[in-house]
Symmetry: C2
Subunit: 431 residues, 2 copies
């Protein structure tokens, strides 16, 4: 690369005396007069650069005096093994170039303890990312994406990309962002639900990881108006099959992160790592309702179970658990209803946080149309979707995980804004 | 899975006499009276199911008579090795269940030759996907996504997700879709450009693969209003560095697809596969202008090079090539300008199709502000982005590939709608 030969974590492999160029940010400077030190960091590690009157050009010494914390620099130097240096070696400065200066003070402190509020950090996310903890969370986000995709690739799933701009509200009721699409009214998709169902006709096993949108004016620590969703849909499967896939995914992520050998230790939730060899418990909706009642909570059969209800049940704290077989009225039209009025459906929870919702879908066009009508939705809005159910739609099941929420559980963070690079809520559209 | 034990391509490993259940679509039926055949396909392969009076229940025979092409069925049977059967074995029917019926005729023919127009196929994409060729194109799309991501993971890049709803037009001039965001005006992002630049401060090497939007009323075979973009950005790199990464990516995709051993043969462009061991040629903008003139084309230095210009140059047909060092006025404000008035920029072309654009970015705040002003853009619209250039912005470079266009080249398709599941253009918002 133009400005560096190596990343800092590659230097330890170089031999004594080897000349090389690195580039990064100044973490610290120490001026002892005839000896001056710079601590330089890049995205991989940090290293000590040393300048001494007798072994480095004099003008570098004068330049080092003007260098400040967080200045962007390029250093050419030679490797010297040293028992005193923390890493076992240091870089003896031969040339230094300042590539970009940094103003002081920064809008937030990036070394040591953080005093800034979440709002200040989000207003300055790129600077916040220079803090090691924030950087680790988003590197971990990338790792979990990687593990997740490899899990589905390995199982023969096809990765798909469905539209974000759509002509009708996919699931009926919800608030969607509206836009003008060449003089037609259009909406931003809240999920790939109907598309992924359709795609099971040709591809059978599909997944998508992408950004979706919801226009509700949320004001909580677990909702955003723009979020990453991981969606799957599987032909010839039912809700038990896809719950097994989900439990297997959680186990795989937990195992793989555990293998990373401490690299992400400070941003990993111990409770999540337990699931590398722990089963996920499963309760029916009815059982959970009874558990809530037993703890003195107020709830009637048929009502949604709220976070407040779950908080009452001490046994469910810091645990994953499935809640299955929800009553018909609590689930969207595409979920399959059983003869007893419950549905082939489930939510995956961790403590009181819902992170995934799924189920068997209704593949019979007539039953599906009855459900749509019964829910007071307009049948004609769905005609372009329903027509496919007449031409060989297989039975199918699937689910959707809120990926930013999953990352909350993996990291143990309590606010979804901590696991979203540039969160969007009703007050935040910048940066 | 509830409806099947195995995918059809797993059956060949089963022993003679093994009882198993498969599920899929009826591709063909043949009724010889006392012997009846069903050809069943799933997403992996197809298999012959046989019913004979003396070895299968009689009611199955009657059911088979009522089964039509494309009906969704579940078949329980036993494996019988057979020299006559195409695959070396067949499934002797024990139970058959029709899971869903298919109407006839289908909106488009899915076996054999395709007579339907592109519009009919797009109106019925899920049915079009039951055609083997269409299914292969989108399975290949998924393969290329996988190869691409593994390429970047392996190089230490961090996968990021930047916002789609933004407060200001990221690149100035272009037409953006506008939406109402809780009573504020907002836009749909046309690229992650400014965000990925910012993220080099904390993460150095980032990539994103996601859907972006452009509101121009295109009417061509190579533009869509919603498209998948692959974006990278690298700290301490320049345009030569990121061109090398790009050439390396093309080589890797070509090599990896070549390894897939004929699975995608009929949807792979031979010209693309040549790049597994072929260098990508590079010409400066000035050189290409002279080539155009030599072929009798009309172009002045400083003008954009059009597809019509490139078509004049026979030597560039069916080839990848870089066009580098464009004049300042042809490139966006964030591209670095050299002392001679050209820029550290490049496009990657294949024949006359542009698939990638990139360059070194300007990291100096003052120079960047001068460029913005010079281009007639409003400096205050960019204040939330520009502020980060004062706090340790490294030199950086990057590029963006139109992924659906890349898939056009890989498959040899001439219309971007062939490599997009649900394309969006000014006339198409459904399905």
């Amino acid at each position: 690369m133009r400005h560096k030969d190596f990343y800092i974590n590659q230097l330890s492999n170089l031999p004594e005396g080897k000349e090389t160029t690195i580039a990064g940010w100044v973490e610290d400077t120490r001026d002892l007069g005839k000896i001056k030190f710079l601590k330089i960091k890049d995205c991989t590690d940090s290293v000590q650069v040393i300048w001494k009157t007798e072994e480095s050009p004099e003008e570098i010494g004068r330049l080092v005096e003007k260098i400040n914390q967080n200045d962007v620099v390029k250093v050419k130097g030679t490797i010297r093994k040293s028992k005193v240096a923390k890493k076992g070696f240091e870089l003896v400065a031969k040339e230094i170039e300042v590539l970009n200066k940094s103003k002081h003070p920064l809008p937030l402190e990036i070394r040591g303890k953080i005093n800034a509020s979440l709002d200040v950090r989000l207003d300055n996310r790129p600077i916040d990312l220079m803090r090691p903890r924030t950087a680790k969370i988003f590197k971990l986000f990338s790792e979990v994406l990687k593990i997740t995709r490899e899990f589905f690739y390995e199982k023969g799933f096809v990765e798909v990309v469905t539209p974000r701009i759509i002509s009708t509200a996919t699931e009926g009721g919800a608030n969607l962002f509206e836009l003008n699409y060449f003089d037609k009214k259009a909406f931003l998709a809240q999920s790939p639900q109907l598309y992924k169902e359709q795609l099971t006709m040709g591809l059978e096993r599909v997944f998508e990881i992408g950004t979706f949108f919801r226009a509700e004016p949320f004001d909580t620590t677990r909702h955003l108006n723009e979020f990453v969703s991981l969606d799957i849909e599987v032909a010839f499967a039912d809700y038990n099959d896809v719950m097994e896939i989900l439990a297997n995914l959680i186990r795989t992520i937990s195992k793989e992160l555990d293998k990373l050998d401490g690299e992400y230790k400070e941003v990993l939730n111990e409770k999540f790592l337990e699931y590398k060899d722990k089963e996920i418990e499963s309760y029916s909706y009815k059982e959970v309702v009874n558990m809530v009642k037993k703890e003195g909570g107020k709830i009637n059969y048929g009502e949604d179970i709220s976070s407040e209800h779950i908080k009452l049940i001490k046994d469910l704290k810091d645990k994953f658990f499935f809640v299955t077989d929800w009553p018909e009225n609590t689930k969207p039209f595409y979920i399959k209803v059983k003869d007893d009025g419950t549905t082939e459906s489930f939510d995956l929870m961790f403590s009181e946080l819902e992170i995934c919702s799924g189920g068997t879908r209704e593949e019979n066009r007539e039953k599906l149309e009855n459900r749509i009508t019964k829910m007071g939705l307009n049948l004609s809005s769905f005609s372009e979707h329903l027509k496919f159910f007449s031409y060989g739609m297989p039975p199918h099941a699937g689910w959707a995980i809120g990926f930013n929420r999953l990352m909350m559980i993996i990291t143990g963070e309590n606010n979804i804004r901590e696991t979203t690079l540039y969160p969007r809520d009703k007050n935040r559209l910048i940066p």
